[in-house]
Symmetry: C2
């Protein structure tokens, strides 16, 4: 059983609708009504020690920041502004108080940075180590919410920043390279992308306000898997062009250092918390300006097509699946893989 | 460091206020605005294997129900109606699929029973075992929300049902007694109170609607500890009269079987999910009627007094702390006890 099956099993058991519900399971956030034409967005994400992070190289302050960031990224994925947070903190018996103080500081600093106020939660003992579950609540105008399901045939597929950095950063950290003063400057952004990711909140709000974007989500499980989610919800497929996904200097260098193909990180690597969105081709110029204004480079990496899968081709393709394309649907991080 | 210190540390790091916030950290739920004169209530509680439950005797369907119930109880504690839920489910590597199916069924059945729709969440791997974190969202009229902080000197302290059952039930389960067809009928309610607690949602809504209650919360960490929270928030103390807390047949029987004083369970036992509230003495008759109508016996067990602690006396007391009283402030379940 893999994660999608488990979610499907739980979803199939839950009833369907409620008056104040705008969007239930199936997107980055649930959406419920606020007042007037505004809505609340709700998301919940968990980080577990030895699964999602390694205390041997993850400084507690950055870990606290990351636990907030991954949730804030879900709010950004719909175009919303983070507002409140609830935290359930699991700590092992005999936890280190000094370490926990830095963790708390990271959480509170990140909450302040993203403008979300901690309003409740729980603290529990977790025998196997630290776990952090947050519910982050965001808000925005109802008519501006960007769902996964509204992608349209012919839409250009866009990504912000440089996908793959976080996965490469993790591989570097696991190989013993650390974020220190004398760390190679081209590798630093990779290490930072894993240890201290920055959700694209401001860019997301601008994209939602532009009215140009059809569908959006964040990249948490890797470009291939997350684009598969967006395509599945939109009832479409996608064609991604490898040539349009140029690796940055750091990815190339990390690839050489670790004897890895950077394309694997870019396509399958998780935890980038970049934005993945689709828009009609005639919006290209305006979107590029929005990206420039927000300081985040945006790359057009492919198109939505009439198909059932996400394929990767070397060079540009049309609107049908090319025979030479490689099916990359749902290739990325899996939370479970049982029996 | 104990749980209260940890919560205080995190709270002290978070900024203070936001426009849509009605109540932040410090009560059973956070409260944020909905539309018109209505508000959303938000709570988050976690159950961890081997800390909060034992899979050797906790059937998965009842465990799923309990994870929902403990959160729904926080909504009830403010007088609200549960509406939505988010679930973060942690499962160990190689989890049992059949067991997980029963767990999911319990979660979904409980959501249906309490009228809250599952709208999102996360699934993760948790090395040490199963963990369930839920955020439950409730709603109610803003002016009817019952906080901990509004207790007044002279208020009668009320509890619903029979506190202590869950702790006694757990002790029975740990001694090898199970909920089976031929289990002694006086012990069954104790076992059920631990395995499958019933939050007092309907009663709570009636109490909030009555306009008679000053302060309310649920009993999750034991009567002594939870009354201490209410008193601390209200800037008062309380005097509880042992005589007014009569143990039921089952508690007496369990006490004899396990050679325990039932009073310990009633005062310090956690996880009852009964309601604890205060109201002026002249509301007594009406409250008794509300209790009768809801099928939940209500007991007046003491009074709020001008003091800094919660004391237990054998028989009735006035409005000052009696010398013979035993200080029971914050005597109950502690999630952490370090260094």
């Amino acid at each position: 059983m893999i994660e999608r099956d488990l979610i499907e099993q739980i979803r199939s058991l839950s009833s369907a609708d409620a008056p104040a519900l705008v969007q239930g399971i199936g997107d980055d956030c649930a959406v419920i009504e606020k007042s007037g034409n505004r809505v609340w967005l709700l998301t919940m994400d968990t980080l577990v020690e030895s699964i999602h992070f390694d205390c041997n190289f993850h400084p507690p302050e950055l870990l606290g920041r990351k636990a907030v960031a991954v949730n804030v990224s879900d709010i950004a994925a719909m175009g919303g502004k983070p507002t409140f947070a609830l935290l359930s903190l699991g700590l092992p018996e005999g936890f280190n108080e000094e370490w926990t103080r830095w963790l708390s500081l990271g959480i509170s600093k990140a909450c302040e940075q993203y403008g979300c106020l901690l309003i409740g939660g729980d603290t529990v003992c977790n025998p196997s180590g630290v776990s952090l579950t947050l519910t982050v609540i965001g808000e925005m105008e109802r008519g501006r919410v960007l769902y996964r399901k509204n992608g349209q045939v012919g839409d250009t597929v866009w990504v912000s920043g440089q996908p793959g950095r976080s996965a490469a950063g993790l591989a570097l950290l696991q190989s013993g390279i650390r974020l220190e003063k004398n760390t190679d400057s081209s590798l630093r952004p990779l290490l930072k992308a894993h240890l201290d990711p920055m959700p694209r909140t401001a860019l997301a709000i601008d994209l939602a306000a532009s009215g140009l974007v059809h569908a959006m989500q964040d990249i948490s499980d890797g470009l291939a898997t997350d684009l598969s989610h967006l395509c599945h919800q939109s009832g479409l497929g996608a064609c991604i062009i490898a040539d349009y996904l140029p690796p940055c200097e750091g990815l190339k260098k990390a690839g050489i250092l670790l004897n890895q193909d950077p394309m694997d990180w870019m396509i399958k690597g998780g935890e980038d918390y970049e934005l993945l969105f689709t828009a009609p081709p005639d919006a290209t110029k305006t979107l590029q300006l929005i990206g420039r204004d927000s300081g985040q480079p945006l790359s057009a990496v492919g198109s939505l097509i009439e198909a059932k899968s996400v394929v990767l081709v070397e060079k540009g393709c049309g609107t049908t699946v090319s025979d030479e394309g490689t099916d990359i649907s749902f290739q990325g991080y899996e939370h479970f893989q049982v029996g």
